[in-house]
């Protein structure tokens, strides 16, 4: 299964075999291989443990939507559509993405000289209606994902306790945190390489 999975960063950044960008990526073979292995470990885990594969894709779709990256959203949402009630879940995720838009990073620093750099921004809660479809675990995960995506310096022990109270385990919280943070990395690698690919194409033209 994993052997046939395409390299996600190449796929979404439009890196074609034999292109200048392909040659540049080939000079960091471990980066390329291990970024893909990180993706596989998170989305095709040998043992999903405390976080279901559906939860993983739902959170990743939400994170991609918050980054306003439609291709990454489609990529992560597509496997959900194949599941029972998946189409409805994707509609709810789209509605929540619409409600959750912001521009980051913002947030507060510990009180002191950096307080002058504090920036206010929205705290996000899922709607009551969406919560019925999402359930308490996924609703809590989306709220935490929003915090991590847009205002990570507002993070707190209370935010982690909210996940634990919603039924997440400590190990599940680690997997969730890795997943949101990984997708934040992956989308930036894709966004950066997409710009660079068009720059190298223009230079070659």
């Amino acid at each position: 299964m994993s052997i046939s999975t395409p390299d996600v960063i190449d796929l979404l950044a439009g890196v074609k075999p034999g292109s200048e960008l392909d040659r540049i990526r080939a000079q960091r073979p471990q980066t390329r291989e291990q970024a893909q292995k990180s993706y596989l470990a998170l989305f095709q885990p040998s043992d999903p443990g405390d976080v279901s594969v559906q939860e993983r894709h739902a959170v990743a779709s939400f994170v991609a939507g918050l980054h306003r990256h439609p291709d990454a959203f489609e990529f992560y949402a597509a496997p959900l559509e194949d599941q029972a009630a998946g189409t409805w879940l994707v509609e709810v995720l789209k509605a929540e993405i619409g409600r959750a838009q912001a521009t980051g990073p913002y947030g507060r620093y510990p009180a002191g000289p950096l307080t002058a750099e504090d920036q206010e921004g929205p705290s996000y809660r899922t709607s009551e209606a969406s919560r019925e479809t999402l359930g308490p675990r996924l609703a809590a995960a989306l709220e935490h994902a929003h915090l991590l995506v847009f205002h990570p310096r507002d993070a707190s022990p209370e935010a982690l306790q909210a996940l634990l109270d919603a039924g997440w385990t400590t190990t599940g919280v680690v997997t969730l945190s890795q997943l949101v943070s990984f997708v934040a990395f992956q989308i930036r690698a894709i966004a950066g390489l997409t710009v660079l690919a068009s720059a190298t194409k223009r230079a070659a033209a």
């Binding site: 990526r25 634990l164 930036r188």
Partner: protein
């Protein structure tokens, strides 16, 4: 049955960006060193990391930690070609400064200073923020890292042109992209799973 955070208030926490060797303490329980199995050690990649509460927390998901660690090492240590190490660390520091990760910024500003021998210039980035004037080449790297760190990212053609004008070729630019992108992974973990602690 519900698990609990283990957070306790940190006395005298770091409240400014610094190159001092500050520490970090988790809000949820790491694995105990004596409970680590072979699979956990494989996830840690380096045995010495078993001493770190941060890595003993992340190793609860060893598969992800192993792939992440190997990604990290190639992005920062594979310097036979491409951008010098100091400037990869600068990109990491700029992302950390912009996101507000005091701990990450401390570690990677030290690396940037060590490899560039320009500690005072690096300190300006910490003191004044991402608009500090560090000279055009470093300004271009910081601006690119910051644009990529914004959510949604605002990195565009103009950033690539500015980096090219400052002497960076395509591989160098790819190294800036990876260095900054990777710290958007690291910053979120460090900021959301624990607190920085004062230098000893």
């Amino acid at each position: 049955m519900t698990e609990q955070v283990i957070a306790t208030p940190v006395k005298n926490p770091p409240i400014i960006f610094t190159q001092d060797e500050i520490g970090w303490t988790p809000w949820i329980a790491p694995l105990a060193e004596e409970d680590l199995t072979e699979r956990h050690y494989a996830g840690l990649v380096e045995e010495a990391r078993a001493k770190s509460p941060y890595f003993r927390l992340l190793v609860r998901d060893p598969e992800v930690l192993e792939a992440r660690t190997r990604t990290d090492k190639d992005i920062f240590y594979n310097t036979r070609t491409g951008l010098p190490r100091a400037e990869r660390e600068l990109a990491a520091t700029a992302a950390s400064r912009f996101n507000g990760c005091i701990f990450c910024a401390s570690v990677h500003s030290r690396f940037a200073s060590h490899h560039s021998k320009r500690k005072q210039v690096v300190q300006r980035l910490l003191d004044e923020g991402v608009k500090a004037d560090l000279g055009e080449r470093w300004n271009a790297i910081v601006a690119a890292a910051v644009a990529l760190t914004a959510t949604p990212p605002t990195f565009d053609q103009a950033h690539v042109e500015r980096l090219n004008a400052a002497g960076l070729d395509e591989l160098d630019v790819a190294d800036v992209i990876h260095g900054a992108a990777f710290f958007n992974w690291a910053n979120r973990l460090m900021l959301s799973l624990g607190d920085p602690t004062p230098a000893r």
